[in-house]
């Protein structure tokens, strides 16, 4: 007899959240959150001290423009996909690799609860690190009197980053449930295919997740649809698949 899905999901969530936040892998998250803050501090001090001027194509770039560039290049192009791949693929694949998935499977809980609990723990963990990091970068980079025009785009960016973390995490959770070593494939996808598709002409960009990291209705709906579909496929995979653990 198995326990209800919601209760089981919550127990797995509690267990996974503690493991995720205080594991060695969390140093990656710390780095992802801390590096942009450090960069923002250095840039802000440099710009306000007048010791350097950032220029692109001969045009002076102010703190607002640096903030927008940091959001696009650091968070959307690098941090969100990287966190999604590293954490998403590890959620199930690490349990298989370390042969500990047996302990979870032998508990009287639905297998879907393992996927959902771990995914929700990942989502909370990642958003609680990445989004405050963006918030600190915003406050460091943008002077108070210049915040107003950027506030709307800042809030939209927070939302899209959250959705992006959710979509990348769900897709790579599914690949982690499907393949034994999904990390290499995941890295090739986000840092190979997605970068290539972004510069290819035509509709190739639509075959990436990064293409939908935008604050418009179609992109948001696509990200949500992608997340739900990937989660459903992950639940279905783990419920049907027999994991043969090597001795």
């Amino acid at each position: 007899m198995t326990a209800p899905l919601v209760g089981s999901t919550r127990r797995i969530f509690d267990l996974a959240l503690g493991q995720m936040l205080w594991a060695r892998r969390a140093s990656l998250l710390g780095l992802a959150a801390g590096a942009p803050i450090l960069l923002a501090l250095v840039t802000r001090l440099t710009l306000s001290g007048g010791t350097a001027v950032v220029q692109i194509n001969g045009r002076h770039i102010d703190s607002e423009a640096v903030f927008s560039t940091a959001i696009t290049l650091l968070y959307f192009r690098f941090i969100v996909p990287a966190v999604g791949v590293f954490y998403g693929t590890s959620l199930i694949a690490d349990e298989v690799e370390e042969k500990t998935i047996t302990y979870l499977f032998t508990r009287p809980i639905p297998r879907g609860a393992i996927v959902l609990g771990k995914y929700l723990a990942y989502l909370l963990c990642a958003t609680c690190v990445v989004l405050p990091s963006v918030a600190v970068v915003f406050m460091v980079m943008v002077p108070f009197h210049e915040m107003a025009p950027l506030f709307g785009s800042f809030v939209r960016n927070l939302g899209v980053l959250g959705l992006g973390l959710g979509a990348y995490g769900a897709v790579f959770l599914w690949t982690g449930a499907l393949f034994r070593r999904p990390l290499v494939g995941g890295l090739l996808f986000v840092f190979g295919w997605e970068q290539l598709a972004a510069i290819l002409p035509g509709y190739m960009g639509r075959l990436t997740i990064a293409h939908y990291l935008q604050a418009d209705t179609r992109s948001v709906a696509t990200l949500l649809g992608m997340t739900i579909a990937a989660l459903w496929l992950a639940v279905r995979t783990i419920e049907r698949r027999e994991y043969l653990l090597e001795r």
Binding site: L17, G18, N57, G58, L131, P132, F144, F154
Partner: protein
């Protein structure tokens, strides 16, 4: 969930809440601090175009001195205003806001623009000038209105507040007083319009216009508008100091139109670079151009540096001729 985890989650949530609250305060205070906030209260909801200029800031800027060397004739509109009302644009006006229910480029349209000017006016002198031209004194919503209505003129002038003057066709001036009194909807009720105003109102001069390709109400010639993807809104802002830092923003109805518009502008920029790339004055301006697209919004920013202005000025850098006197 252990205590350490709970503390971490609360700390992360706290950082997010503090930053959102800070941004919200900045946004809220900016709305009330916008230079044209008081004047906008007189603009009716039917306005399709609003343009604002910090006249004092513009006149006192080094850019203005340089610009006078390029265009020595004063704007025709200011002469017309002085002839009809006795208001000296250069010396009397501090801020000027123009609102219109038309954004047509066609020359045969009727001019229904409402001028809202803040400055130092001499009501007796201005009323005297208008009365000498056949003006009549009237009262509307507790304000004195001087109307000048005959076969060639339909103009009215009202001192709505001390130092705040409304000028335009009778219907526009009365409509402005209605909007201020709350008898008719003001432009503040149009959230889409105000969002664009808030985005551009930090400039020394700015403008927001609602475009309607279907009815032909556009500030650009219809022949050009027909070549462009559909645009719903157009906004422009410029910050003036020793140079000019400008930003143009167009709001397309959908992402696809925005992408098409960006591609069209990119094409124009490429053509401009091809044509003017050899001229250092134009090259520095073209190098400063930044084109971005974010959802349905396409923005183009540019800088006209003092060095570029020197190159554009036939007589070279300023200092070779008399500079305009500074305003108090």
């Amino acid at each position: 969930m252990n205590k350490r985890t709970r503390v971490f989650l609360f700390a992360a949530g706290g950082v997010l809440i503090v930053s959102l609250a800070t941004g919200l305060i900045a946004w809220a205070t900016r709305v009330s601090a916008a230079g044209a906030a008081d004047e906008l209260a007189y603009v009716p909801a039917t306005a399709l175009m609003v343009a604002y200029a910090d006249v004092r800031g513009l006149m006192n800027s080094p850019f203005h001195d340089r610009f006078r060397q390029l265009q020595r004739t004063s704007p025709a509109g200011s002469d017309d205003l002085e002839a009809r009302t006795g208001i000296r644009f250069d010396t009397d006006v501090d801020d000027l806001l123009v609102a219109s229910t038309h954004v047509d480029a066609s020359p045969q349209r009727t001019d229904d623009s409402l001028l809202i000017a803040r400055g130092r006016f001499d009501p007796a002198r201005i009323e005297g000038v208008m009365r000498s031209r056949g003006g009549q004194i009237d009262q509307y919503r507790g304000k004195r209105i001087v109307t000048l209505a005959n076969t060639t003129n339909d103009a009215a002038l009202a001192f709505a507040e001390p130092g705040l003057l409304l000028f335009g066709p009778q219907a526009s001036v009365r409509g402005a007083l209605d909007a201020k009194a709350g008898a008719s909807a003001g432009i503040g009720s149009n959230r889409e319009f105000m969002a664009l105003v808030n985005d551009v109102s930090d400039g020394t001069a700015w403008s927001v216009a609602k475009l309607d390709n279907a009815s032909g109400h556009t500030p650009l010639p219809p022949a050009l508008m027909n070549q462009l993807p559909p645009i719903n809104w157009f906004a422009a802002t410029g910050r003036v100091d020793s140079g000019l830092h400008g930003r143009l923003r167009a709001e397309a109805p959908d992402v696809q139109s925005a992408e098409s518009l960006r591609d069209v502008i990119q094409g124009f920029l490429a053509l401009a670079r091809l044509q003017g790339g050899r001229d250092p004055a134009y090259r520095s301006m073209l190098d400063s151009v930044a084109l971005t697209a974010d959802g349905t919004s396409v923005s183009l920013s540019f800088d006209v540096t003092p060095a570029a202005l020197d190159l554009l000025t036939p007589s070279g850098p300023p200092g070779r001729g008399p500079a305009a006197p500074r305003r108090p």
